[in-house]
């Protein structure tokens, strides 16, 4: 299932990127190779021989709108500079200037902080020099976006995982003390009657029960930092009971389903940060929805583990894994 969703996300991303790019191309959204009429003002005077001169760039709003066929209007004046080389004159907008669409997109595509283009012939008759600018062509920007996103998110994933090292070490260390002191076993025995119906595959008195309860309690209290290490530890305990190490067992899926339903009495900090005190009104509906979705999650997991497809793939239902020494079997 995850195989198909995963591949589907990637293929859909490519397909949508190509469709959007073809649509942009057909409508010539970026006016590749066309020159946008502008006017330049040289505050330090117009000097043909100067290599780099500061300019004020003026773009007429109506010209701009009809040129690109958009509603967005440019500011009345932009700071920038002209760079003259043997290859010709290049116009640079100031770095991180507040540009209208689609100029912003053109700058993003180029990957630089400053929008730049080739300057057309200048008519230096008076203080305001009439000229035009041709930006470098934008080709397949969405394709570039998805490629960039793939690289960025690969980095993000590593950052997140490495960011977990500290809390993981802290909690795994604390839990080890609790285990050595016998607390985990006592807790497991205490909560077992409650969890037994949901996790029938876990033997009596197994420490997994204690870890599951700790994980779920941390979730309920909104302690995201603690919930993840505790959930991982619970998974590790369940993994010790798993005969086929690369396949999830029924209790593992049950625990996961309970976590995705995210029972919590404390609203998540991220939500409070975004919508502020409004959150207080939402506590009751959040608890109600989260409680109901927990019931749905456990119910669905319970039902699905009985469905033929997943019953067949149950690690505990399979005959013992053929081992390397099982070669001599008929």
């Amino acid at each position: 299932m995850l195989n198909y969703i995963w591949a589907g996300l990637i293929v859909a991303a490519l397909a949508f990127a190509i469709v959007s790019d073809l649509r942009d191309g057909a409508s010539d959204r970026f006016r590749n190779h066309a020159a946008l009429p502008i006017a330049l003002e040289y505050p330090e005077g117009y000097r043909e021989e100067a290599r780099r001169v500061p300019v004020h760039i003026r773009i007429d709003a109506e010209t701009y709108q009809s040129f690109y066929g958009v509603d967005a209007a440019p500011d009345s004046v932009y700071a920038g500079h002209v760079l003259r080389t043997q290859a010709g004159a290049r116009l640079f907008f100031a770095e991180r200037a507040a540009l209208p669409d689609p100029l912003l997109r053109i700058r993003d595509f180029s990957g630089g902080d400053a929008l730049e283009g080739t300057l057309g012939p200048e008519n230096a008759a008076d203080a305001l020099v009439a000229t035009s600018v041709r930006f470098d062509p934008v080709r397949f920007p969405h394709l570039q976006d998805i490629t960039r996103a793939a690289f960025d998110f690969a980095d993000t994933a590593v950052e997140i995982a490495i960011g977990l090292v500290g809390v993981l070490a802290l909690f795994l260390g604390l839990l080890k003390i609790a285990e050595a002191g016998g607390l985990i076993r006592q807790m497991a025995r205490l909560v077992e009657p409650l969890l037994r119906p949901l996790f029938p595959g876990v033997p009596k008195g197994h420490p997994a029960f204690a870890m599951i309860v700790l994980n779920l309690s941390a979730n309920v209290l909104g302690l995201g930092n603690a919930a993840t290490p505790l959930g991982i530890k619970a998974m590790e305990e369940l993994q010790t009971l798993n005969p086929v190490k690369d396949t999830a067992t029924n209790p593992m899926v049950m625990l996961l389903a309970m976590n995705t339903a995210s029972v919590q009495l404390v609203p998540p900090a991220l939500l409070v940060a975004v919508i502020g005190l409004q959150v207080n009104e939402l506590i009751f509906p959040i608890i109600a929805v989260t409680g109901a979705s927990l019931a749905v999650a456990t119910g669905t997991a319970w039902l699905l583990e009985r469905a033929p497809l997943w019953k067949r793939s149950d690690p505990n239902a399979r005959p013992a894994e053929p081992t390397a020494s099982g070669e001599d079997a008929p």
């Binding site: 859909a12 090292v165 998974m235 993994q239 996961l256 995705t260 919590q264 939402l282 929805v289």
Partner: protein, 182 residues
Amino acid sequence: MTWFRYFIDYFSILVLPLMIVGLPVYGLIRGVKVYEEFVEGAKEGFRVAVMIIPYLVAILFAIGMFRASGAMDFLVETLEPLLGIVGFPPEMLPMAIIRPLTGSGSAAVVADMVAAFGADSILVKMAGVMFGSTETTFYIIAVYFGAVNVKKTRHAVPAGLTADIFAMIFAVYLVQWLFGGA
């Protein structure tokens, strides 16, 4: 509801310090060599985090590409007329789609909605309840199953997503019912 909120708030503030101090103290009383045991357990932290990396990279880059491709807008466009029929506000669709995929992404969607409709609006309330009552299913799968090297997730995705879809729909109707029409 307020006293309940206070109680839970204080309790959740107290529980972590109690755990962090309480467990070593408990260990000492039970005669555990606390420092040695702690270090032994903490060693695992790095190994587990590194173990998660391939799973997280796989999930996050696919989701990142999907978001960057503009597919979301297209989905919203196509599904909008269908949603009108069942009375599900089409403005909620981006939130419903993105919530199981990414936590920070869905927080950004809520922030956009606050800017567009005002923090008081019923749509933002729906988004808030959706955010608070569901989790980033795919992230959880990557982290929890990744930590134990489980690749074949069996019915985890359908079970998680069923609960998510149910929560989204229930959130919309419950908020509508509680905070009136609009």
